[in-house]
């Protein structure tokens, strides 16, 4: 099955060459710009106040962040397999893999919440210093995308047209892609 066969028939010009609804790809590009700007702001703190950056970053749980990377990458596989079975017209397997992707999304949020709870117990909050302001801003904004992504996975599992599946899973992979960049920038680079 070709891209054109599974895409909608609307003429989006050059954007028609992308899988799924082109509006989602505009969103993906704009999200990359927004998060990219966040990460640049975060990295500038590393230059302007290296002592604060280093002391604060050492309070982060790198293992939890690494575990969450593996959780999201695995949920990305599940979403990609859902697309694979959608192309084979296997609705049951498509829905099962979407459910699996959503479950791992929930697991990601649970791990993230555990991290937040640990920080709050240490008296660390967005008001503590500029490092933690950026930390909570970037990871919190991303977590909101995960929540929306889970909602989207439920919707596309229900209204499972080819275009919906491609578009919804593209959003989910975007969430995955941004975390893959965010993890080293916030947790590792020092």
């Amino acid at each position: 099955m070709s891209l054109h066969e599974i895409n909608n028939t609307d003429d989006w010009g050059p954007l028609s060459g992308l899988p799924g609804n082109p509006i989602m790809w505009l969103l993906i590009a704009s999200e990359l710009f927004v998060f990219g700007a966040f990460f640049i702001g975060f990295s500038l703190l590393h230059i302007t106040d290296p002592e604060l950056f280093s002391q604060s970053q050492n309070k982060l749980d790198r293992l939890a962040g690494g575990l969450n990377t593996m959780v999201l990458v695995s949920s990305g596989l599940f979403a990609a397999l859902a697309v694979h079975y959608q192309r084979q017209r296997n609705t049951l397997k498509t829905r099962l893999w979407l459910a699996g992707a959503g479950f791992l999304g929930v697991l990601f949020l649970v791990i993230k919440w555990t991290e937040y709870a640990d920080k709050f117990n240490q008296g660390l909050s967005p008001d503590s210093n500029s490092f933690f302001m950026w930390y909570f801003l970037c990871t919190g904004f991303h977590a909101m995308h995960v929540i929306f992504g889970i909602f989207l996975l439920i919707v596309i599992g229900w209204k499972n047209t080819d275009e919906n599946i491609l578009t919804g899973t593209a959003f989910w992979h975007m969430v995955d892609l941004i975390w893959v960049i965010m993890f080293p920038v916030i947790y590792l680079i020092r």
Binding site: F53, G66, H84, P184
Partner: protein, 94 residues
């Protein structure tokens, strides 16, 4: 026209992504507090770019996209990572 990714290929990509994630954690040092310098930083950003390429090419299936969209999104991610690496190098110098 390029074909879509098979289930077997997707699983291989996932295995590589998991291995690279573990590799990033290893290079970045899960428990160490020391700076790992420009070479370590280059390794972390290099691995990160490779991971993003795998997600773009196979999970998002951009290798099957018509036109230069794969190049566009790869370049955008590369540019962001290049700026971040440049800022990291600057933080080591100043």
């Amino acid at each position: 026209m390029p074909s879509f990714t098979s289930a077997r290929a997707l699983i291989w990509v996932w295995l590589v992504l998991i291995a690279l994630s573990a590799g990033t954690l290893f290079v970045g040092g899960a428990t160490s507090e020391e700076s790992f310098g420009i070479l370590g930083g280059a390794a972390v950003f290099g691995i990160t770019f490779f991971k993003t390429k795998l997600i773009l090419n196979y999970y998002l299936d951009l290798k099957a996209a018509i036109g230069n969209w794969n190049m566009f999104f790869s370049s955008l991610v590369f540019l962001i990572l290049l700026i971040l690496f440049g800022l990291y190098c600057a933080s080591l110098l100043f």
